[in-house]
Symmetry: C2
Subunit: 105 residues, 2 copies
């Protein structure tokens, strides 16, 4: 039995690097991290201000890419720039996963 | 009767400049103009590629602003840049209106 478990564990450790790059963030963890975003984008990402994009249901990879673009300055926006100072790199995938999991309205 | 019509016409011409800036585009007209966008973003704006954002149901004002940002170079993207050469300024509001009117999935 121990042999079975050990083999399974070894296989898992061997195969995990093959997981797709940019594997999904944690939507549950992202919910708390997205609180700072909610003031503009809405708690569930269904922003009601026509100039602040709806994020609910958007592709996770696209969301993560845009947050990183704002953070690096590759993409610029006067409202987003100061917000990015409060977003940690480690939180980005989770925030993106959270909004991607929300239902667009 | 002619006096009534003339007065109504005069009032319309006087008041029309007071229409909100960035008044809504024509979604129906936008459908044909958005054909070039559909290859990536999907016919109804529900893109299936995680790097190409879903546009369906997005705020019209935000969509129009981003198209203009890509067209001016204020926002840069290697895929979008050549596409912008095929988008006329006069079409932007209609394209934005079309995607804003689509149902997000």
């Amino acid at each position: 039995m121990i042999r079975v478990y050990t083999t399974a564990l070894a296989l898992t450790c061997t195969l995990s690097p093959l997981a797709p790059a940019g594997a999904a963030g944690d939507a549950q963890a992202g919910k708390a991290k997205a609180v700072i975003c909610s003031a503009c984008h809405g708690i569930d990402g269904n922003s009601t201000n026509p100039l602040w994009p709806k994020l609910a249901g958007q592709h996770e990879a696209y969301l993560a890419k845009q947050i990183r673009a704002f953070k690096s300055g590759e993409r610029t926006d006067q409202t987003m720039a100061p917000m990015m100072l409060m977003v940690k790199e480690d939180d980005i995938d989770d925030i993106a996963a959270y909004y991607a999991s929300q239902k667009p309205k």
